[in-house]
């Protein structure tokens, strides 16, 4: 079966790159944050296809953000691409260590243990003066291979870096999902023991997925930090993780494009709701989540798929 997704990705990327020079600044900022969060959701999607939900993805998101912030503060590192790689690498290493333990768990216990680890980080950040405590840390102004823009040019540069990262990540994840290990996801979800009988180590598959999801969340954290210019412990709090899970369910897990659409929609609705109806924003979120689970269990993406099959 030819893979059309990669072509669609490339087309969307070109459109997004052109948009970077046409769209107003607020839209670029919003898209940057949305795509950064979509990276985290992309990782959750991989886990979800295996039947796992992490209620602690904010751990890696926070690690990525703080790695970027502290590397700027302590090491004087300002190159955005270096920061991005650093944040992703640190998050991946931590995900690997946590994964040693986490890969033994399933279902609710997987969710709870990942929650515990993310709250560990939160506890550490809140109470450590050197890490900025509850106030957080400001990000030093980033540069891009020696080019150090300011103002609107900076917003655009971070946006472009983000869409490039998004493209590469989605591309690689798509290849992963179509690989043998990636294809094992739904068999593992359906019946893990039978997969083991086929000679596959389910634990190593899940461990690998935890690392991939962790690295993706780390990239997302760095990009958010660069876009916002500030990081605080809220990044690692459980409600942040809950938000990521929310977008995963809302978007659906049918395609690597779904997380990006879901995250964009989420950020758009959020920014309007925050302006016009801040009092009932969470209520709307909750209601949307309930309606999705009850009536569109495959997420918004499944609506597209159904239509395509019908046509």
């Amino acid at each position: 079966m030819p893979d059309r997704t990669l072509g669609v990705l490339a087309a969307v990327f070109v459109a997004a790159a052109i948009g970077g020079f046409l769209l107003p600044q607020w839209a670029l900022f919003l898209s940057t944050v949305a795509i950064a969060k979509a990276l985290v959701v992309l990782g959750l999607m991989i886990l979800w296809r295996t039947g796992l939900v992490s209620f602690g993805q904010a751990l890696y998101y926070g690690v990525g953000g703080y790695a970027a912030g502290l590397a700027g503060r302590w090491l004087g590192l300002s190159d955005a691409i270096l920061l991005l790689l650093l944040g992703g690498a640190v998050a991946a290493v931590i995900a690997w260590a946590v994964g040693l333990l986490l890969a033994r768990y399933r279902e609710i216990f997987f969710a709870m243990l990942s929650l515990a680890f993310s709250m560990l980080l939160y506890g550490l950040l809140v109470n450590t003066e050197a890490l900025g405590s509850t106030d957080g840390v400001n990000i030093t102004q980033p540069s891009f291979l020696g080019y150090a823009p300011g103002g609107g040019a900076l917003v655009r540069s971070v946006y472009l870096l983000t869409i490039v990262t998004g493209l590469i990540a989605a591309w690689l994840v798509q290849i992963f999902l179509r690989s043998t290990i990636g294809q094992l996801a739904s068999p593992i979800r359906d019946n893990e023991i039978r997969v083991e009988y086929l000679g596959v180590s389910v634990r190593s598959v899940i461990h690998l997925e935890v690392v991939i999801a962790g690295a993706l969340a780390g990239f997302g954290g760095v990009l958010t930090a660069l876009a916002v210019g500030h990081i605080d412990p809220e990044m690692a709090y459980w409600t942040t993780s809950g938000g990521f899970v929310f977008v995963t369910i809302l978007a659906g897990t049918g395609s690597v494009i779904a997380p990006f659409l879901g995250a964009l929609l989420f950020e758009l609705v959020q920014s309007f709701a925050m302006t016009y109806t801040p009092d009932i924003w969470q209520l709307m979120l909750g209601a949307a989540l309930l309606l999705t689970i009850l009536f569109v269990p495959g997420g918004l993406w499944s609506l597209f798929e159904r239509r395509r099959v019908g046509a």
Binding site: M119, D279, L285
Partner: protein, 302 residues
Amino acid sequence: MSEATLIGFAILMDGLVYAAWLFIVAVGLSLIFGVMKILNVAHGSFYAFGAYGAATLVGLYFDAGLPVVGGFAAMLLAAVLIGILLGAILERGLLRWVYGRDEVIVVLVTYAVFLILEDVLRLIWGADSHFAYQPYVALGNVVAGDMIISNYDLALIGLAGLIALTAWWGLNRTRWGKLLVAVIHDREMATALGINVTLVFAITFLIGAVLGAFGGAFTAPKISVTPGLGVEVIVIAFAVVAIGGLGSIPGALVGALIVGLCRAAAVHLFPQGELFVVYAVMALVLAVRPEGLFSRVQARRI
């Protein structure tokens, strides 16, 4: 008293008080999970509603200048009313439609309810702080050596003990409790033997909800009741039940004691580690015993 014994005593007292609070909050969560296999994030909302309800009722009661004793009855009444009301709406109106779906999906459903109730709470009570300090002040203090201990805190320990005893007695010494234990162990078999599982579920959920509201109601006099209350509580209650073993009442008690004492020790000896230590203990326990200290052995199904 020497410095060291004083600190030791302080840790013990603070730890016990904190553990009592944790147990009251977590026991309902654990009960609901044990019977229904639902990890109820909305438990945090029951807690918050209980706290607001009690603060309002206690405020009204004391404004009317009535005798102090009734203030406690008012708190109790608020908790029971709110627990039954919210519990019934949630269980009958929503949860029974998702019974049998994946555990993780049901967690997300309760998470959605939690988000909705957070805003409902704000719409009803606004963003201001509410206070219900009167019952706390009314009970006064005892002085033990160099330490001043609030009687209200001591009463909280008593209340936790009472709830633990009642739960033990109810589960082990009553007909209802035995039916419940049967459902906990094997839902299918219990249904086959003619136990009305639907009814058991409904009642369990109400009891759990009332316990959650109880936790909030009896905490209200100690704190200023503000929005965002439930967010912090639910995650620490998770830690307690995860340490003890999901669904185990003795587990909730032991989990509460461990977390309570560890946190109190951290507060006195190493204040920076206050939050950290709770989750470090949780991660440690889960690393050694994945399903908590008091988990049951489960058959592997192929």
